[in-house]
Symmetry: C2
Subunit: 351 residues, 2 copies
């Protein structure tokens, strides 16, 4: 019996609706698969927690989380309650950094039964490997001068180690897929970090002679995600570029509500964290219509991470059976609620 300790962090907004939904599905999986059990411990950290305690998470939060086998996160942030840079850096980004979750992987794939906003969405199936710990998201910087002369300086910090690590991760994944890695750059406009990124990419790729490569500037790449997403396999990108590309990836999949993500700790020292791409969507909270698929697909990435790839793939097939059957939430043009979509998935697992 494999018992997995999962720290569950529903967080804000619809996170509190879709995390329980995905738990129902994981429970169904362990009901069927006798050898697997998920023990969830839930922590109520969120913007509401901040309003009460002046911090997003208690001082001992990381201590509490660190022995989990994985962290299962819903969504963090609600601008109406707490400024985003406080809520995110106090929880989401804090966990990513403190637990050295240096890689963020985000697949984008068109599921049957789902209408993409693209007129002619060929069968795309791509995977963005996003550097998740450095780059443009940096606490280094500040301001100088006052009044109309004020200047803000923001440092982007790219280490060879960090860039190379993300790239190698991308090459390893590509080896198991269509054997192509695209590097997202902008060395024509950004003249220190991006030529450096390109150099590292050129040097890393020589270790993977079987994998095809290309480099695309982020502007062109963003456009290609709209015009020809099917041409990509694995894309490796800096923190910011990966962030932008994966929201476009989510959009062309038909809804940000279905896009999954995983924050991977690669040195085995800390748990990895699984969270969908979407945010807390305060506008639809409480209506019972939040799309649970992003969170459930994220659970599939967690299964993969635990070495249960067969189960993971099966879960994705079942998700696709349900979308193909038209059991969809309103964001996908359907008329079903969170419960019904979740129920349809759980039911198919159980039988």
């Amino acid at each position: 019996m494999k018992k997995l300790k999962i720290a569950s962090l529903p967080g804000d907004g619809v996170g509190k609706e879709v995390v329980p939904a995905a738990q129902t599905v994981l429970k169904a999986i362990s009901d069927v698969h006798g050898g697997l059990r998920f023990d969830f411990t839930e922590y109520p950290w969120s913007c509401e927690h901040y309003l009460k305690h002046d911090q997003m998470m208690p001082d001992d939060a990381l201590d509490k989380l660190k022995d989990a086998d994985a962290i299962f996160l819903g969504a963090v942030g609600n601008q109406k309650l707490v400024p985003d840079h406080i809520s995110l850096w106090g929880m989401l980004i804090k966990i990513r950094r403190e637990f050295e979750q240096v890689i963020n992987i985000r697949p984008a794939k068109l599921l049957k039964g789902i209408t993409s906003p693209l007129a002619n969405p060929k069968d795309f199936d791509l995977l963005v490997v996003r550097e998740n710990s450095e780059g443009e998201y940096s606490e280094v910087g500040g301001r100088i001068f006052r009044g109309e002369d004020e200047v803000a300086i923001q440092n982007a910090v790219f280490s060879r180690r960090g860039s190379e690590r993300a790239m190698r991760y991308a090459f390893e994944l590509a080896a198991k897929r269509k054997k192509h890695v695209t590097s997202a750059t902008k060395s024509n406009g950004i003249v220190h970090s991006m030529p450096f990124w390109d150099e590292v990419f050129q040097s890393v790729k020589t270790d993977y002679p079987d994998i095809g490569t290309d480099s695309q500037h982020i502007d062109a790449l963003a456009a290609f995600f709209v015009t020809q997403p099917q041409r990509f396999d694995v894309i490796v990108a800096s923190n910011l570029f990966g962030d932008v590309l994966t929201d476009i990836g989510a959009a062309i999949m038909g809804s940000i509500g279905i896009a999954p993500a995983a924050n991977i700790n690669v040195n085995g020292k800390y748990p990895s964290m699984f969270e969908p791409v979407h945010g807390s969507a305060p506008d639809i909270v409480g209506k019972g219509i939040a799309n649970p698929i992003g969170q459930i697909w994220t659970a599939k990435l967690m299964l993969d991470h635990f070495g249960e790839e067969e189960l993971g793939n099966k879960l994705l097939d079942i998700i696709e059976d349900v979308t193909a059957a038209g059991i969809l939430t309103p964001d996908l043009g359907g008329k079903y609620g969170t419960k019904e979509v979740t129920g349809a998935i759980a039911e198919r697992i159980l039988k």
Copy 2:
């Protein structure tokens, strides 16, 4: 008789095909409109120039350009000949900066007869005002440590003056349009420059009580360009964010080959520069199929800039007549060449 001195810089690749095409159209306009004349002086600066002279432009280039009423540029760059950061910073970005072309405006609008890659492209008509002189495109930065410890640091530099200038420009334009400005931010992830940008936006907007506003994170905004472009009027963005958004804008218009741009000098000290969004497209050079519409639409922005908005609007109507008639280059699914599309536009002007 209004005589306008235009410095023509075809640059690289298809620039040398579409600039003459747009000149034909401008010539037709002045043939019809007796009171307007364009005197072109052409400069052959390009990557080929670099290979011969070790510089993209001669030492006295800016001197030669500075008395022009406008600069009309094709495209710069050809990675196969010269690394992009050399060709671009030696010419395109150099002119933008030395001539204080601090604003870049780029409309995105769906023309009749053109198939967008979007399934259901409502009638979008948006305008990105891109800060064009600072932000993420900065020469400040460098490297430290060696070997596997190497780190590159890239500074993004945001001045209040520069940010505010771009925002005011956006508000002024919005006042003549649908009266809404969206600010592109990423203050949830990028904690120095972007909260500063937000602050400046909050303060600037109080001067324009009649203009509606919102702020969107760049990841969400990029996705909205795909899912609901019709919801935007004017978007104000930093240099990098504007770059990415406008390539997506070009993609949803149906082809990067039709998207226009203008680099505006706002203090009247130097000429403004008009260049389409597309690059030099080395893969189609010499085939006679480059889409001239981007360059011709750019000429419309130049007419607007000279106060000839009526002529400019008429030119855009004629462009749209031609696309509506299905006279399209292959990038738009058509079977016509550069010459035929240009001819069709010129002909309609002349009659």
